[in-house]
């Protein structure tokens, strides 16, 4: 399993955990269970985790597949700079966030799933992975070289008439070396 980027799996697991925490919280609050305060915390924490984990990171190797509509989330998460970039921070954050979920039955599952996600993120951080935003590629046109300031005044050099006549019949034989170097630099 040498080439696996653990962060990819940690991300799926954390997103699932966020959703489970959110659902457990909603159930706890809607049913007015004992300890519903923990459930309301779980709603907030689950929502936060989903927001944080929704934008997928760019893969170090291979093509990255975006989730639908993740661009706005990418911009928000990117704005926090090193805090969201570093996976150690995420691992500890998830570990801390999951603890209050363990106090109520409805949110216990979300707590354990988030804990597992935190462990996988720790593995990713130890391997040196970090979060990279997937941004739309800007095609940079090659900058126009200094020497080209104005369009050419003269027509391009043409071969002498004998060779031009040959070109019509025999492509290979009509090849000639252009005296002026033509390169696309």
């Amino acid at each position: 399993m040498g080439k696996i980027e653990w962060a990819m799996w940690a991300n799926e697991q954390a997103l699932a955990a966020g959703l489970i925490l959110l659902t457990g919280g909603i159930v706890g609050v809607a049913g007015q269970f004992r300890g519903w305060e923990f459930a309301s915390y779980a709603i907030a924490a689950g929502f936060f985790v989903c927001m944080l984990e929704y934008p997928r990171s760019k893969r170090a190797k291979g093509t990255s597949v975006e989730r639908t509509g993740q661009y706005c989330f990418t911009v928000c998460v990117k704005a926090f700079g090193p805090v969201t970039r570093n996976y150690y921070v995420r691992a500890f954050l998830h570990a801390a966030l999951c603890v209050p979920g363990g106090f109520m039955l409805a949110t216990v599952l979300g707590c354990v799933c988030l804990g597992i996600a935190s462990l996988i993120y720790l593995a990713a951080a130890v391997r040196g992975e970090h979060w990279e935003p997937i941004l739309p590629r800007k095609d940079t046109r090659k900058p126009v070289a200094e020497s080209i300031k104005s369009p050419p005044q003269n027509p391009p050099p043409r071969p002498p008439p004998e060779i031009r006549r040959k070109q019509a019949k025999d492509v290979e034989g009509a090849a000639y070396d252009n005296p002026i170097a033509v390169t696309d630099e």
């Binding site: 399993m1 040498g2 080439k3 696996i4 980027e5 990819m8 799996w9 799926e12 697991q13 699932a16 489970i20 659902t23 457990g24 159930v27 706890g28 809607a30 049913g31 007015q32 269970f33 004992r34 997928r56 893969r59 291979g62 597949v65 363990g102 106090f103 109520m104 039955l105 409805a106 216990v108 599952l109 354990v112 799933c113 597992i116 492509v171 696309d184």
Partner: protein
């Protein structure tokens, strides 16, 4: 207030569905069993046999159902346990749930409420009952299986997906033991005679008193049922794995290894008693790389040859290791005895076998998806040379190959070149019409193509048929074929990406009119 007293019913309904779904989920992955069934059904109905090709799709659908029912089951039990806890906490003698909870505190009397005291909490009860503990364990296993089966993980990090998926063993063991604690209680039949719930439920203060006519109700746990559903499929799956182990010990010899430029490795192998049909695939295991991994590859040889070949594209850990084990990164030739030992499971069938049932076929392959068609074209050719019965039906083959890079042509171009040569010898130029489309190219290459436009052989493939650039205009192609073959059934076979499949399917439907019928078949892996 939500109706907590119905929560148990809401939990037991998805539990029943889960029994059914967990029975079904193991069956589609018993590929040897399915292959055997496919062979047996094929004589009766080909359509029925083809449904078995969509086994992985079925497996996924059942998995989604399991996930959904698990969610409903858990949420219902959350309400249920809250209700049980309420019953213990609301210690009011004129409250029926409390009275019912008290039953079972004395000797020789069986309880109803699984929460036995008011000093506990649902969370603690969950971790101290068999049902609760197994429930947590199998739900976690299910969640881990699902997150590692997401397409992103499955396509790029296959090993994580494969190894994590083996948590299903824990899932099934936990599932079987989930009901062993008999935590779901019901009134016994004998007790139902002595305490009829319709009349006695509200007269709970008089239970047990002589003149009430209502005895104290007795409860017992329901026996576990899940094992009855899953034991059959579990047994079949164990047999499936044993068959795979047996097959892995049968000797397979690698007779030739060819390294192609497009990071493609060709392995030519022989195995005693191996028999294949066109377009089938095999699973290959290489114990020196990994004992647990079996990877699928399409067979690129024809059944008429006395060996079988696969073309392996080097994209991940396992394929890279296979490449190195076969001496890919060494410059000198590898000795035959140094080649790795491999095991083969299969061959397993796909829709390509249906090719020979049509008069006119359109074969479309995108990139590496052309591999099953290599097998078909070779087989068509062999059959024609041998003047076999099977080939009489095919009048015309239209072959389309869409490829993003020029190097990928190499190994297939050899095949097409030899076919082209043999066809011209026998004056059969119309039999096979092939079109190769290069869908991406670099600026430097484009200049080369422009200069050599008038050359006799194609500058990329060396074939007489010129390579075309860009993507085919399917509308034109379908119209041309429809007008060339009126009144026939044309089979359209695709091995490639889904988007292409969708557009071809649309074309098939729109061009099917009086006489010409386009029937779309898709390969799936």
């Amino acid at each position: 207030m939500l109706p907590h007293q119905h929560a148990l019913s809401w939990a037991r309904a998805p539990a029943a569905c889960l029994n059914f779904n967990c029975m079904l989920i193991l069956l589609p992955v018993c590929r040897n069993l399915l292959s055997f069934l496919r062979g047996s059904i094929q004589c009766c109905s080909r359509t029925a046999a083809r449904q078995l090709d969509r086994n992985i799709t079925f497996h996924k659908l059942v998995a989604y159902m399991i996930a959904f029912h698990t969610a409903v089951h858990i949420i219902a039990h959350l309400f249920n346990f809250e209700y049980f806890m309420d019953a213990q906490l609301n210690r009011n003698s004129s409250h029926l749930p409390f009275i019912l909870s008290e039953i079972g505190d004395n000797e020789n009397v069986s309880f109803l409420n699984p929460i036995r005291s008011n000093e506990t909490s649902p969370t603690i009860v969950m971790f101290t009952t068999i049902a609760g503990l197994t429930g947590v364990v199998i739900t976690l296993a299910l969640i881990l299986i699902i997150t590692s089966s997401m397409e992103v993980i499955r396509r790029s990090y296959f090993e994580v997906f494969w190894y994590t998926h083996h948590l299903f063993v824990i899932f099934f063991i936990g599932l079987v033991f989930h009901g062993f604690g008999r935590i779901v209680r019901g009134q016994t039949l004998g007790s139902l005679n002595r305490n009829k719930p319709d009349t006695c439920a509200n007269r709970f203060e008089e239970w047990g008193k002589n003149e009430s006519g209502c005895a104290v109700p007795e409860f017992a746990g329901n026996p576990p049922m899940t094992w009855k559903w899953v034991v059959g499929p579990m047994f079949l799956y164990v047999c499936e794995r044993l068959v795979r182990i047996y097959r892995s010990h049968q000797k397979v010899v690698i007779t030739k290894v060819v390294m192609h430029p497009s990071k493609t490795l060709e392995l030519q192998m022989k195995k005693k008693g191996f028999h294949m049909e066109v377009g089938q695939y095999v699973f290959i295991q290489c114990p020196s790389i990994s004992r647990l991994e079996w990877h699928p590859f399409t067979l690129t040889s024809a059944p008429e040859e006395d060996y079988f070949t696969v073309h392996v594209r080097i994209v991940g850990d396992w394929t890279q290791a296979l490449y190195e084990a076969c001496g890919g990164n060494k410059s000198e030739l590898q000795e035959a005895w140094k080649l790795p030992k491999v095991a083969i499971d299969g061959p397993f069938g796909t829709a390509s076998e249906d090719v020979f049932g049509y008069e006119v076929v359109m074969l479309v392959g995108a990139g590496i998806g052309v591999t099953p068609f290599a097998s078909i074209l070779k087989s068509v050719w062999y059959k024609h040379i041998q003047n076999n019965e099977g080939i009489k039906e095919i009048l015309s083959i239209y072959f389309y190959w869409l490829c993003p890079e020029t190097e990928a042509f190499e190994w297939f171009a050899d095949l097409l070149q030899s076919l082209e040569r043999q066809m011209t010898e026998r004056d059969m130029a119309d039999f096979l019409s092939y079109n190769i489309y290069l869908t991406r190219w670099k600026e430097t290459e484009a200049a080369h193509f422009r200069v050599h436009h008038e050359a006799e052989n194609d500058p990329i493939t060396g074939l007489k048929q010129k390579t075309l650039y860009g993507k085919p205009n399917w509308d034109n192609e379908f119209t041309t074929i429809a007008s060339a073959h009126p009144g026939t059934k044309v089979g359209v076979f695709l091995c490639g990406p889904q988007m292409l499949g969708k557009s071809l399917e649309k074309q098939c439907i729109s061009h099917t009119e009086a006489g010409v019928k386009f029937i779309f078949n898709k390969e799936n892996f």
